[in-house]
């Protein structure tokens, strides 16, 4: 058990190193950092001096080691565009993206799981067919079109919800949250739905497929033959057994939601990391792009580690090995 966790952590370290290497290569080799930092009026001697001071003449391995070391200390360098520390810029933006991602995830689970169970248990119902068709349409339309449609209907035509920004936010420590005001929630709703639709469909279809599979299994038929009440049979027996594959996909998807919220954030002008990334691309702000890459990779690794731990929590076969 401990061995299993340690093994996964060591693997994670290697993944992070690989991503750090990518980020470093981006920083070091996409354009000359010195030219990016200085203007045309800086003399060649000054440029050389700066190059020497920043250690850009050192061997490649040294530079990479120093880059990784700085990262570990929390020193992410400075943005070319705003001259601010990148760490601060990202830290400012993380809460917005995380809140958006988590709310989108919760919406997709709250709707997706029950819908999946229902469509699995009544595979021939009219409602089932309706749900399946609607969600199919939902995934076929690109995210930004859904976003724009939602803005048009609820923001412009009906005027119920704001169409951009985070609305009222509250500062808690260093965390700027929109979860504590009604205004904040109103602003959060549309982007969260937009972001959650795709995951909702995926969750629902996966739960449905797994559930139908499990309902055919011997232990469900046996539970049926013993007259276990239907509610318990569906939720305690069947749904629990679908969880392992379902959380795998949800985990992977959540990483994806955080990483690829770029489109949704730009449609709703949501001040999160994705928007920051887009701005950075426009200004070739390579340090910010590199760090963004590392932060996103870190989320992926973290979520997958949590998923692995959840497996162990759910499935006793992974937890308890000894045979009586």
């Amino acid at each position: 058990m401990v061995y299993f966790i340690l093994k996964r952590m060591v693997q994670s370290v290697f993944v992070m190193l690989a991503v750090a290497f990518l980020a470093f290569s981006l920083f070091r080799f996409v354009g000359d950092p010195i030219t990016q930092m200085t203007g045309v009026e800086t003399s060649v001697e000054d440029q050389e001096r700066l190059r020497e001071e920043l250690g850009l003449n050192d061997p490649f391995v040294y530079q990479f080691a120093r880059f990784t070391g700085d990262m570990l200390k929390g020193d992410f360098g400075f943005s070319y565009r705003t001259r601010q520390p990148v760490a601060d810029m990202i830290a400012d933006r993380i809460p917005a993206t995380l809140e958006l991602g988590v709310v989108a995830l919760i919406i997709s689970l709250l709707v997706g799981v029950p819908a999946g169970v229902y469509t699995a248990l009544k595979p021939r119902g009219v409602l089932t067919q309706t749900i399946l068709m609607t969600t199919l349409v939902g995934v076929s339309i690109p995210t930004f079109v859904i976003g724009i449609m939602l803005i048009f209907i609820f923001g412009v035509q009906l005027g119920w919800l704001p169409t951009f920004g985070r609305g009222g936010t509250v500062q808690i420590g260093g965390w700027e949250s929109s979860l504590f005001t009604i205004d904040g929630w109103r602003a959060l709703l549309l982007p969260a739905i937009t972001l959650g639709v795709y995951q909702l469909t995926l969750t629902m279809r996966l739960v449905r497929a797994e559930m139908m599979e499990v309902m055919r299994s011997d232990y469900i038929r046996f539970a049926m033959a013993r007259g276990v009440p239907m509610g318990r049979l569906h939720y305690k027996h069947a749904l629990a057994n679908t969880l392992v594959p379902v959380i795998t996909i949800i985990g992977l998807q959540f990483g994806g939601v955080i990483a690829f919220s770029i489109v949704t954030e730009s449609v709703f002008q949501w001040p999160g990391m994705g928007l920051l990334f887009l701005e950075s691309i426009r200004f070739v702000d390579i340090p910010v792009m590199g760090v963004y890459l590392v932060v996103i990779a870190f989320f992926f690794v973290l979520v997958n580690l949590v998923v692995d731990l959840l497996y162990v929590a759910i499935d006793p076969r992974l937890r308890i090995r000894d045979v009586q």
Partner: protein, 560 residues
């Protein structure tokens, strides 16, 4: 008392309704074990499913009466039917590995079932559950009840399954192949338990099985089913001892006896499919016999597998699958290898074919030493000379290849026949030789039954011109009449072409019919090896004796 009369179950399909069972009559009294025997597809399980109301959709009861005591089972609403399930009728499934929810402890599953049907507190339910497990023969039940299913062995799990079925005091239990997935020792314990429960608790059992030996041992009455109809029913000794119906007689003939060797099985309607068609293949195989009869000898063969790691710093001791196995298979003979599941039978086959790497020992095919596992090159001659017939004909043939492609593969692969047309001709002829229509070459595996597929598997093995054939449980997935046909076929081919065969099976009666010598394997060690007749009539090892004792057999007087 269960009363079934004129029961007909239909499955609607695109081509009209298909009757799975027709006009089935049956009465089961309290405390009676009623055997239901027949081959696969005979509709045995459908009868059980109809009684408990769990017919696979879209099947439905089209006609007949189904009553349990005073209750008309056909008149129940779905809710009422669900209340009766467990409470008055319960069921035991075939495979204890899959019939318990892996995520819940045995305790939770028992308490849940008890509380579903009677209004008792959790502690009272727990007490009843523990008592029940004790009664069913699980020692130290108070502690073991906290275990998850995967922590129990196969036999213990089947006991837990039976405990679950009995926990609500049902009047009737439908046991669908309850011992098929179990080893003989465990099987005899489970059968004993069923007999005891029937007697002490007056539970009526419907015992569905294809194993006539099991029926002979425990059933009070028996119904023989074929193609959805009950063709003979009555007291077990009567039906099996003096079968009236031709089919029952044929079925009894196909059962291999444990206590003697027969020359051939009597197969009711064996048709000799144009024997001349097979001549091409026969001549081809005979002309290819440049090698003499080839034996196999194993010396101190040991296979170890890495055990799952429990601690960070200590490497666990490896799991020994085969422990210094020494076995000498005489050229041109059939060596039977018997043992319970997990004894290392299949590992031995894999070691010989180079699929697992032994850690020490030697393997000699004729007088060449076989390299181990991956160090055996792709072009090593033994890869052609040793061929294998697998247990499950449903998964051992590639379902997307034509039979012709499957059969001609060894011909071009080993470079035997260069001309494509000739290869097809040879493949077709080989099909005739194994008793199939030669036009099968254009079809796909799913178009054939299990027995036909196993014939194709044998044909494929033969087309590699092997000298040494490994048959790993070649008939355990087949019905007994089909089994008899395949065993006859293997015997004929073995005599004709002088093959040396390693015949692996857990079925002692089958091995007795097939093998010249028999080896008994247990926990990776050879317990006993010798001439088959000697091993069966005067076994030396205690283990062999107990295996022979526990195998369910029919009384000799019933056998024809």
């Amino acid at each position: 008392m269960l009363l079934i009369k004129d029961l007909t179950v239909k499955f609607p399909s695109r081509f009209g309704d298909f009757s799975a069972i027709e006009d089935v009559d049956m009465t089961i009294k309290p405390g009676e074990i009623h055997g239901l025997v027949g081959e696969s597809g005979a509709g045995k399980s459908t009868v059980g499913a109809a009684v408990i109301g769990l017919l696979q959709s879209p099947g439905y009861v089209a006609n007949g009466t189904l009553t349990l005591g005073d209750t008309d089972l056909r008149k129940l609403t779905p809710t009422q039917a669900h209340e009766i399930r467990g409470n008055r009728i319960s069921m035991i499934f075939q495979d204890p590995q899959t019939s318990l929810n892996p995520l819940m402890t045995i305790e939770d599953q028992l308490i849940e079932t008890i509380q579903s049907h009677s209004d008792v507190s959790e502690s009272a339910a727990r007490k009843r559950a523990v008592d029940l497990l004790e009664e069913i023969g699980i020692k130290n039940a108070a502690q073991r009840i906290k275990a998850y299913p995967h922590q129990f062995s196969g036999g213990m799990r089947q006991r837990a399954v039976i405990a679950l079925a009995v926990s609500t005091d049902p009047e009737l239990i439908i046991a669908d192949e309850p011992t098929t997935a179990l080893d003989v020792a465990v099987q005899s314990q489970v059968l004993e338990l069923i007999q005891r429960l029937a007697k002490e608790r007056q539970i009526a059992f419907m015992l569905i099985t294809h194993d006539i030996g099991v029926i002979a041992q425990v059933a009070d009455r028996v119904s023989v089913m074929r193609k959805g109809r009950v063709i003979e029913t009555g007291v077990t000794a009567q039906v099996l001892g003096k079968p009236q119906h031709l089919y029952t007689q044929a079925l009894m003939d196909a059962v291999p006896p444990l206590d003697r060797k027969m020359g051939r099985f009597r197969v009711p309607d064996a048709d000799d499919t144009a024997p001349t068609l097979g001549d091409i293949a026969e001549n081809w195989l005979l002309e290819g016999q440049q090698h003499d009869l080839t034996g196999m000898s194993l010396q101190n063969l040991t296979v170890q597998f890495a055990a799952p790691r429990a601690s960070l710093f200590r490497k666990p001791p490896p799991y020994v699958a085969l422990d210094k196995v020494t076995l000498n298979i005489k050229p041109g003979s059939i060596m039977g290898l018997v043992g319970e599941s997990g004894s290392g039978k299949s590992t031995l086959a894999k070691a010989i074919t180079g699929l697992v790497t032994p850690s020490s020992g030697t393997m000699m095919l004729g007088d060449t030493a076989l390299p181990f596992g991956k160090s055996r090159s792709r072009h090593h001659p033994s890869r052609q000379l040793i061929q294998m017939v697998f247990q499950d004909p449903y998964s051992s043939l590639n379902s997307r290849h034509r039979i012709g492609d499957i059969l001609t593969e060894p011909l071009w692969f080993y470079g035997f026949v260069k001309d494509a047309e000739e290869r097809e001709k040879l493949a077709a002829s080989m099909l005739a030789l194994v008793g199939m229509q030669p036009d099968a070459v254009t079809k796909y595996p799913h178009q054939f039954s299990g027995g036909q597929r196993q014939r194709i598997a044998v044909a494929r093995a033969l087309l590699a011109r092997p000298r040494f054939l490994i048959c790993d449980e070649p008939t355990s997935a087949l019905d007994v009449s089909i089994q008899a046909e395949i065993l006859n076929l293997l015997k004929d081919l073995q005599t004709k072409f002088g093959l040396t065969i390693l015949f692996i099976s857990h079925n002692l009666a089958v091995v007795r019919q097939m093998a010249d010598d028999t080896a008994v394997l247990r926990n990776g060690k050879i317990e006993e090896v010798g001439e088959t007749h000697a091993v069966y009539t005067s076994p030396q090892a205690d283990y062999t004796k107990s295996l022979l004792d526990l195998t369910p057999v029919m009384p000799t007087s019933w056998q024809t």
